[in-house]
Every structure is written in C-alpha cells, then in structure tokens.
Amino acid sequence: MTTKLEDILKAGSLEEILGTALPYPKEIELKGKITKDVVKELSKIKNEPEWMLRHRLKSLELFEKLPMPRWIVGIEELDLENLVLYSKPEVGEVRGWDDLPESIRRIYERLSIPEIEKKFLSGLTAVFDSESVYSNLKREFEEKGIIMLPMEEAVRKYPDLVKKYFGKIFPAGEHKFSALHHALWSGGVFVYVPKNVKITFPIEAFFVIGSAMEGQFEHTLLVADENSYIHFIEGCSAPMYKGFSFHDGMVEIYAHKNAIVKFTTIQNWSRNVINFNNKRAIVEENAYVEWIEGSIGSKITYTYPSSVLKGEGARTTQYVVSLSNGPYLKDTGAKTFHLAPNTSSKIVSKSISANGGINIYRGLVRVIKGAKNSTSTVSCDSLILDEKSKAYTYPHNQSDEPSANLIHEATTGKLSQDKLFYLSSRGIREEEAKSLIVLGFISEILEGLPFEYVEVLKRVIELEFSEVGGVG
C-alpha cells in the first residue's frame, strides 16, 4: 500500500507512518571487533580498487590512534564492537521501486518517497542500511552529463574523478569518528554537475537504518563544476526498534568557481539513533554554498556543517535548525573558515528545546590574515518552551585580519504565558499554539525550502507537539 503525501499530512503520529521495525532479508552482515580483516573483507565485498582499500586501512590506523573526543556524551552507551558494521540487505538488481523487497519498499512508500521523486525531483538515491538500494536520475539530466551514482559504483567507474576529491575535503584524520567513517564507509551517493549545467529540480538521497545495533557510514560526495547549480536534499529516517543504532555519515562538497550548491538535510531519525555527522564544503572563487541542517529526530545528534571559503568572493550561508523535544540532545552548529579576501558568511541557528530537551550550539568563525574585507554575521536564537528544557550557546570567533567584520548576536526566548494566552483567546489550544510559535520561530529558514518539504516539515512539527505524537 502506497502512502500518499496527503496521508502523511493527515497521520496522527510519526509512529503511525513508519511503525515498528519489521524483519527483512539480509545478504551479508559484518560485525565484531573493528580489525584490518573486517575492513579488507568489506573492501572485497565491494570489489574495490586497491587505492580505496589502502585508504580504508590507513583510516583504520588513525581510528586506533586518535583519542575519543572529550566533549562527546552518549557514545559510551554504544558499544562499537557490538554493532553490525556493514549490513547489506538482500535485494537483487533494482531498476524500479517494484524490484525492491516489499518489507524495504514499504518504508520508503510510507514516507511517500516514490511520489515525491516522481513529482519534484531530478534524481533520487535510496540508501538502506549500508547499501544504496535504488538510484535513479531522470534521463534529461543524464543527457546533460550529470553523474549521480551510488558511491561504490562511482569509485569503480570514475576512479580519477572520485580520487581527486574523496577524503580530500574532510580527511580521515580530523577526529576519531571521521577516521572510523573512512575505514568503514558504505553506501551514499556521488554527484557531479558539469560546467554551466544548472539542475532545476532537487536531487534527493534518502537514508534508512532498518534495524537496531547497526552502524551506518554512508558517504556523499558532491562536485559542482564551474558555474553550475544544484540543490541536494538529504532525508533520514528509521522505524522504531529496541536498542540503538549509530550513524556516522559524511558529506563532502566541492563548489568550483561561480557554482551554487544548496544542501538541505532533514534528519528525522527515530529516537534510537545516535547521529554523528561530518559535513564540509570547499568553496572556490565567487561560488556559494548554502547548508540547511534540520535536526528533528535521533536520541543524540552531533552535526556542524562547515564551509571553507577558499576562493576570493566565496560565500556561504549556514542555517541550523535543531529541535529537542523530550530527553534528547542536539549538539549542533556551523563552522566557517575565511581563507581569501572578500569572502562572506552568514550563520543562522535556531534551536527549540521542549519537554526536557537540550540544545547546544557550537560555532566557529575563523578569518585568517589576508582574508581582507571579509564579513561574517552569526545569529543564534534559542527558544525554550518550558522550565525543564535547556539551551547553551558556545560561539567562537577568531580573526587575524583587521579589515574583517564579524558580527555575533544571540537571543534566548522563553515561551511566555502571555503569548500562549493570546493564542488561546483566539481559540488556539496549547499544543497548536506551541507548533505555531515554533514554526514561526523557524519561518525564515522554511522560506528557503521547496513547498512540498515545508508542508511535510510543518506536519512533523505539529505531530511533535500534538498529544499523540512526539513525547506528548
């Protein structure tokens, strides 16, 4: 049974849409201690070239050497050695949605992914556990020379192109989890947009973790050549299950001269997922990268999309929206490095804490000497809906360039009784009032999204604050 967009908008709760995890056939599972042998086995299964195996083994070495970051909480609950490190669902050759096993297809259908693909997207990749199970780029875009492939396939088909960027934007050695990611990466998508090509409709990747005690390490690499345009949307979801799963994904973006890249993430993992993200873009001369990082679900999320403004006149905007509704933690933020003159950045962070939720903003703006006349504005707004909930802000600005102009603003708003009363005197009940206030609070960011996504997002937030959905 296909779920229509309409059904999602009408559903009583998120659980109603996704339900509890159902068993599905798995072809291969790798688990246990993270050793060279496991990495070699993984590489063999994927039939990888030698250079990628070497890359993995070097990353594993780094993982073993690097210390656990001290500011991390919650990861200790997760025994990495007990995780399924690689899980390949049993799917044959897939040309269309109908070729997928029903148990897997149904998850995507419940989220109306096939419908959205048909109507609004240029292309779609669906990743289930560790593998891309479906990937389709509409023909008109293929003809323009756009490449969109599961990451593994790109490694085999376009080794020179991939090698040039893979792990160069976000290297394995940054920290323990980036090293782990590079050692075990699996699934994800590679996109290349040729010079002067503008993709009118977004491309989407949708990630699902199907069972508990799994690690998902998908890798997305997006290369926008000179003067090109792409909007990439990333969605994440998981059904409910007992126990945790771990997500340690990575996104690398290279925006060449004059390119425009918009990268939107709507993360709505179930409350069993510990979510660790590694996202970075390199922005060349007069190019523009826009991140929208929306974190709604998960038990704990760490994510700080970063832009390296490498070329003169490079620009970036980073929108970070984080909702912690219930006993969950979102440790989010953005990082920008101004390395060239006349670069500009704008960071807008909006966090919402409710029902004991905690939000932490961690940000960094770094301007090196010589990045003349660079400007940066950072604004961090926190909305706290009740006494039990908290928000913290840790911005960090560091400039070695006297002509640079950095502005930082932070506000913390509490939901006042007077606001709730005003709305209730207009017939709007408390739950409805809360979602209205929350949606209003993030309206600036919603305006940048395609209509269909805004509608779904609105519904998700309404469900969060309704009596049946969220934690209630």
Binding site: Q417, S424, S425, R426, G427, R429, L439, G440, S443
Partner: protein, 247 residues
Amino acid sequence: MVMYMLIIENLKVKVEDKDILKRVNLKVGDGELHVIMGPNGSGKSTLALTIAGHPKYNIVEGRMIFEGEDITSLKPEERAKRGIFISFQHPVEIEGVKILLFLQRVLKNLKGIDEVKAYELIFGAIKELGIDESMLQRQLNVGFSGGERKKLEMLQAYLVKPKLLILDEPDSGVDVDSLKVIAGIINRLHKKGTSILLITHYGRILEYLKPQVVHVIKEGKLVASGGIELVNLIEERGFSALEEVVS
C-alpha cells in the same frame, strides 16, 4: 425580563497572593454597551483578562455566567468558542506568524470557516474598514505601532463578530485618526448586536460612542454605576469626585 449576556457575581480575584478584585458584581444585557472607567491599578485589566480566562488570575470566590452557562472554570479557548472575544491592551508579538494565515486559523477555530471563505471575508473586511492590505503579509504584531496593534485587534473582532466583546483600553497609545477608525468598528459591531464591555482610562473614545451604562472601578470594587453623566463628572473633577457621589 431582561436577558443578560454576562453576569458577574461576587468576583474575588488574586494575583500571587495579592487581592486585586474584591467582590465585583456586574450584569451586561444582550446588545448593551458598558463602559468601565477607573484610575491606574484599580483592577480594570484584571477584570477584562479574568473574563477571558487568563491563567495568571486566580478566582478565589464568585462566578461568571455567560448566556446562562457558568464559565468560571472554562479554558480560554472554550470561552472564545462560545463567543467571548478580548481585544488586548498590549497585544503580543509572535514572530514568523503571517497575519493572513493567522486570521484564517482564527476563523477556522472560532467559527468553523474554511480557508477559502475566510480569505474572502478577510479581504472584504480590510476593504470595508479601510485597513492597509499590506498588513496581511506582515508578522503578527512584530514591529507594529500602538495604533496598528489596536487596529489589528479590531479587525479580528470584526471578523469574528463575537457575542461579547471585551475591549481593554482600545484608546491607549493611539492617535486621533486611529481612534476614529477603532470607534467606528466598535459602533458597527454594536449595531450588529454585539454586547460590549469597554475598559478605558481616559474616556476620550467615548466622544464617539453611546454607552448605556458607565461603571467606575476603584481599588478592585465597582464604586458607581450610572449613565454618561458619570463620564462628564470624572472628566471635570477627576476620579476623586466619585467619593462624594458614593458617600
């Protein structure tokens, strides 16, 4: 027999252990326009917000009857659905909420009017009342002047057409032109049968209105009720003149 829209009996209200209203009794007949005047801190706004159901105001004694139903313990949204509408003295700002969408939601929640019909009603009312259309695309009260806020409150009241309209100082912080617009809307609603309880400090809006009854509130008690002559008395001699009237 006179039909009463609102009966307030022996109402005692506390805010954080402080007695604000001390046994207030009031009856507003169907379609009547009542004015409550009083100095600062006399309990005017408390009375308005208590009738509307603000949770901050704690009813210690007494009750409120609206169209024969005891509403003392009803939630504010339930009172609103029954036809009580309050125009606030200080309407709050709500960031990111577009006025058009907000009005559509209000009409849906209070009157069950669908979006399309609401849209027509809203644009009709805007035209009729001479309010600038661009207001509809702005965010709820964000960056609004005092006059704009009050006009938006009146636009809402005009759209909802409540049975009982409580106006908490509709004339404060408003210039003469806006005052005329606001008084005009009050008169229209009154003519269409809305009962009105108007709270004012200055009384200057009364130049444009014809109230049936004027009450004076002092230190949490209604100390005098009468006709428009009370307003003239207060304007000439101030609230202290009333002590003579009362005694």
